[in-house]
Symmetry: C2
Subunit: 408 residues, 2 copies
């Protein structure tokens, strides 16, 4: 019996590609119920969701087939009646991949439905020196490596989201502009799909948007509904969360704090404008201002070490970067009146030296003492890939039938 024939006892791939809206909705209801409330029997799920037992049994059957739920043990019951198997989220079933192309590295992470990281890989690379095709070749190799590793763990990759340091057209899966990569108008999703081969749900998003979501869902901003995330990469990225949701804006390219002008007559920016925050707080201007030894392999750690040792040039450069961040974040505070700002990327390990200057500027510049809290990320360099994997998993949890098209 082939896998497809076995599936067709409960549903067929055709049925999944045109499921009834109600059944499709209820698949998500049952999966979310188990995710949020924990392991329980079919009977308990039926009782708690108000769905009838037959329906729940059928839906659980589909979710077992999709590898999203698993069956284990027997539920202890206080009442009479046949005890049922406990249904739990399939920690060893589906995973989603978070991928990242940034200016100086490529990264991948596999996350399971319970939120556990199952595989990580990262390689440094000077992606500015390469064209997009070459970089996507290497990213596809990283994906192949991840697929081999997750299969060896008995897991199945259902989808991947690519984090990119530039403007991403999420609906089209394209990258209209990435100034720090020197790329424009790259059809990321199509190009990556052609290189991967294996069917995967595939999409793309801005790296700082995804990192902001990782902070909201699993980081320092859990419970914070309105915040500005700002990330030190080679460039400076930003993501806005309003009312507990990522804010993209009407034209879809919101959150670009790195290109807020803090010094209108300042240095030319890679984006074509002048005096952007990035020209003051990007990695290269920060290291140049700090002086010291020529570029090391771990420049941020070296800068932190010098600051800890009291090096005046390092401290002055960090204070100056904090001032410019404070000016930009003060503008955000006067415009969006958020609860908090979150420092990510290399701003996080440097937060101890940046925050005093940021808070000084905020208290001087924000009206009505509506000064946001300044929080430092603890997710490290993984924030964007973590958010990328998580958003893909959340899409599947919202609509489990989506993965019908990619199961093998």
């Amino acid at each position: 019996m082939t896998a497809i024939a076995r599936h067709s006892a409960v549903w067929t791939p055709n049925a999944l590609s045109t499921p009834s809206a109600v059944r499709r909705h209820n698949l998500g209801v049952v999966l979310r119920h188990v995710l949020e409330r924990g392991p329980r029997s079919r009977a308990t799920i039926a009782q708690e969701t108000g769905l009838n037992k037959t329906t729940v049994s059928r839906l659980v059957g589909e979710l077992l087939e999709l590898g999203l739920l698993t069956e284990r043990g027997i539920e202890a019951r206080g009442t009479a009646g046949r005890p049922g198997h406990v249904i739990d989220v399939a920690r060893d079933g589906a995973v989603a991949l978070g991928l990242e192309v940034n200016v100086d590295y490529l990264s991948v992470q596999a996350t399971d439905l319970a939120g556990g990281s199952r595989y990580r890989a990262r390689e440094t690379a000077d992606n500015r020196a390469a064209d997009s095709g070459t970089v996507l070749d290497r990213l596809a190799e990283l994906v192949h490596g991840a697929l081999v590793e997750v299969r060896a763990q008995g897991l199945r990759a259902i989808g991947a989201t690519v984090a990119l340091p530039g403007l991403v057209d999420v609906a089209r899966g394209t990258l209209p502009a990435a100034p720090n990569l020197g790329w424009s108008d790259v059809a990321i999703v199509d190009e990556l799909r052609a290189r991967i081969g294996t069917p995967l749900l595939l999409d793309a998003d801005n790296e700082a948007n995804l990192a902001a979501l990782a902070e909201l869902w699993d980081g320092v901003a859990v419970g914070v509904s309105d915040f500005m995330y700002v990330s030190g990469q080679v460039g400076v990225g930003g993501g806005i969360v309003l009312g507990g949701e990522l804010f993209r804006g009407y034209r879809g390219f919101g959150g670009e704090l790195g290109h807020m002008v803090v010094d209108a007559a300042g240095a030319l920016c890679a984006c074509g404008s002048r005096g952007c925050l990035e020209t003051r707080c990007g990695l290269e201007p920060l290291l140049a201002a700090a002086g010291g030894a020529p570029l090391s392999r771990r420049p941020v750690a070296d800068l932190a070490r010098r600051a800890r040792a009291g090096d005046p040039e390092a401290l002055a450069a960090l204070d100056d970067c904090g001032v410019w961040l404070g000016v930009a974040l003060g503008n955000v505070a006067n415009l969006l009146s958020p609860e908090a700002v979150v420092l990510g990327g290399y701003f996080a390990p440097l937060a101890g030296w940046l925050t005093p200057a940021i808070e000084r500027e905020l208290s001087e510049r924000v009206l009505g003492a509506a000064v946001p809290q300044v929080l430092a990320s603890r997710l490290g360099a993984e924030a964007a890939v973590r958010g990328a994997a998580a958003i893909q998993l959340r899409r599947v949890v919202a609509d489990p039938a989506r993965i019908g098209s990619v199961i093998s």
Copy 2:
């Protein structure tokens, strides 16, 4: 029979102060139906809303008593049955007042439920030279004048919203800070209520927020869901509309574009910061840059006249102001990715000279060619009072029972 006894045939003031949620909701349903669909009989309303005829008759009765609906003529009907009276919005019933305290004037407008302006008054005043109590005394006199005028038209004022050039705590009805007035922590709503006497629904809001709503509901931004409104007053105000709603932000003080820093080391601003947009594009720095004759009574009209005549100093000052507006609006575009920006206040009559520089900066500074449209207000100096009256009327339409507490 007193008015109250007459009302009690249908409902009592007590019933109105604790109405059932359903009846309260349905009052709004019927009123909005007539507002949106036009005059029609009780029977037609019942048929179209799905409410039963008895319920509709009772709700229409209450809305007639509240002065929100009126009865006129007989509906022509194609079908058999007793023809019914046509129910219409009471254009000659309720009005709301929009009030404004700005730096150099006080203003009032009365608007009826059909959106018609029924009374306007404006007086110039140097409110910076006066304490808040004195200014509110004068505002209360303006309100009394308006109440006399609307009563003479057979209208009844149900509420008023005060537009203020500063940070407004809408929930508390207070003004924590208004740098350009030199006021802080004024309990505007309580102080004004004590001076007015007549019971009115009373609240306060930021003047640029209200002007932005006027543009959205009745101005150049009708149909524009996401825009930044920027207003030249003595200071520079701002209001943000996202997804067709006014955006206030978590701490409630969003939209303050006038205090976006465009020149961090620039001139000291009234708010305590340095280099705010207002220090470049506020009325005084603009007129100072334009030079020419000493301050006239109509400085903006004079500046426009000089620009039309080709005066190079006036043109240079306007271009410079356009550049700084363009820098600030470019920052907004990179952050919020809006559909449009709207120039209000004195920026509107000067838009012909400001817009070229604004568009130049936007096209140079906004990533991904996501450049917002630049629109100029046509509401003139009335925008804020118009929005103020409209928001009060919309609150009543959403929940007509609110006015039970203030009817005489």
